[in-house]
Amino acid sequence: MAHPVASTSTPAPDRVKYGLAFGRLARRPEAGSFLGMVAVLLFFGLFGGSGFMSAAGTASWLNIASEIGIIALPIGLLMIAGELDISVGAVIPAASLTAAIVSGHYGLPDWLGITAALGLGLAVGFLNGLLVTRTTIPSLIITIGTMFLTMGLTLGLTVMIAGSTGVSLVPAPLTKAIFGDYLGGMFQVTILWWVVFVVGLFWLLHISPMGNWIYALGGDKESARNVGIPTKRLTIGLFMLSGFSAAFVGVSEVMVYQSAQVLAGQSFIFNSIMCVVIGGVLLTGGFGSIVGIVFGTITFSIVNQGIYFTSMDPNVGSVIIGALLLIAVLTNDTFRQLALSYSSKKGKRS
């Protein structure tokens, strides 16, 4: 448990201060992911040239980040609560197609299609939550099941209704402006929605008392129930949140690209989990932060897009992301150990 700062016998006052500040920093789940983000920014800033640093370069990774980010946030909350959700990969295209079929194929008002799509996301989330809380099957398996269920139904119903696996939708100007517009010609409006999600979920996890319940749920479900936390309702709520967020991204996609495809969204499953883990969330639950997830998402998106601005083979990007994930887990473990072993100077001496 020897801490480098603690082992000095008579620290000067300024070192005490430094020690305290360092301890507080190490205690934050996002400490490791912040360093990762800075490293990746420096790397691509150096090798990506002016293209990466330009507005268009920034827009390219911010657009990616905003879509993954909206999904990574609730996935992160679920992971902090000790659960996983794979089904988002199927909910995204299912929501896109629901909106496209209702508003495009049948020509009903846009708000009806959007409501139906978001409702679908909530319903899949509710089903996930219900199955997870009523059975002892791990959420990984349950959500793989509901993913295939959703995917199969989406494919079958789309072909049945529309006669093809893609449906197009031309949104009304107002809907387009709210969900699918480009600011300055290159920044997706989704980025602003991401900010809304970040602020809202930051409030939920770090400021509202309910955040404490989420940490407790992931720390020890049995004890959380014993102290009176409504663990089942909370779990169902978190799954509905992730279903809703996935559907929201599905809706934004159909508004941006004006068409919906059955097989879109699979990449979001692993990508969102990677963003969350790079962001310092403990895979087994109980530890993590919203800011960390945002850092993780930015890091992932920079590597994902930045690689095209360098002279490197784009396939190297996957190698970097894989390595980054492992490094992130290792550094986060180290920081977690530091956080656990750290105590303030006063405490150590007495």
Binding site: R24, R27, I207, S208, P209, G211, N212, W213, Y215, A216, G219, D220, S223, A224, N226, V227, G228, I229, L282, G286, F287, R336, A339, L340, S341, Y342, S343, S344, K346, G347, S350
Partner: protein
């Protein structure tokens, strides 16, 4: 010292899981400001007994009384509501939460109103730190520290302070000193004495005779789900208790005696008077 009414009492409690009888005819009482030490080897039925006290299990037959009134607990929540708090071996169960957050988990202090209620971190930390320091653990001074960073003894102390803060009257300590070093264990024992001084009834489950001797007023030895010996402080020497607990020859003798008795009495265990451990010198 015997005239105070018992806060918690078990009367002829039996517990069986299907065909397996785990607890036989247990009668125990614990009074305010008294420490009852429950001694016994692994598999003696200690954890079943604790769970029955804590409302996790319902007795198959027999009664649980609180303040002389028969009670039944629908679950651990209800037992907690009546003031029975259980602290497990590793104390805080949320190692990655801060002291303040884990202290108030489920009953977070808030400020603001309506949907804008926010978790009052400052107040939670202040109260939590004060509660632990009042129990003499002065090393804890920062409510933002993670529970996992505390020593085993500090964690136990935090858990006990939490139980007391939330109005526990009966404190069930499940092997609180088992995983601790000598110095840490003495911290916990001091906390147990402090809880006793504040008038709590303490049920202290342990293997270590020294620890039991240090705080116990009343001792019960559990063998094969039955109370094999029941005595008060000063009635037996440390050696005798050690013999009873340590699982040495005398323990084996006792078990053989109990088994022999059970074989000839249709599986019923002897009453505490029949088996009295090693002959008193």
């Amino acid at each position: 010292m015997n005239d105070k009414p018992a806060i918690l009492e078990l009367r002829n409690v039996n517990k069986s899981f299907g065909p397996i009888d785990v607890l036989h005819d247990i009668s125990l009482r614990v009074r305010a400001g008294e420490v009852l030490c429950l001694l016994g080897d692994n598999g003696a039925g200690k954890s079943t007994l604790i769970k029955t006290l804590a409302g996790v299990h319902k007795p198959t037959s027999g009664q649980i009384l609180m303040d002389g009134q028969p009670v039944t607990f629908a679950g651990p929540r209800e037992a907690q509501g009546q003031g029975i708090a259980t602290v497990h071996q590793f104390g805080g169960t949320f190692p990655l939460m801060s002291i303040g957050r884990s202290f108030f988990v489920g009953v977070e202090p808030t400020k603001g109103w309506g949907p804008f209620k926010i978790y009052d971190r400052k107040r939670a930390n202040e109260i939590a730190v004060k509660a632990v320091r009042d129990f003499g653990i002065t090393r804890i001074d920062d409510g933002d520290r993670l529970v996992g960073g505390l020593s085993g003894g500090e964690r136990q102390s935090l858990a006990i302070a939490r139980a007391v803060y939330f109005g526990a009257r009966v404190l069930i300590l499940d092997e609180p000193t088992a995983a601790l070093g000598v110095k840490q264990a003495s911290h916990v024992l001091r906390i147990v004495n402090e809880a006793k001084r504040r008038g709590l009834a303490v049920v202290f489950i342990t293997h270590q005779v020294m620890h039991a001797m240090a705080v116990g007023d009343h001792f019960a030895v559990l063998i094969r789900g039955a109370i094999a010996a029941d005595f008060r402080k000063g009635e037996k020497s440390r050696e005798e208790i050690t013999d009873l607990m340590a699982g040495g020859e005398t323990m084996a003798d006792l078990e053989a005696q109990v088994e022999g008795y059970m074989e000839t009495h249709e599986g019923h265990p002897p009453s505490p008077q029949v088996v009295q451990g090693p002959a008193a010198p």
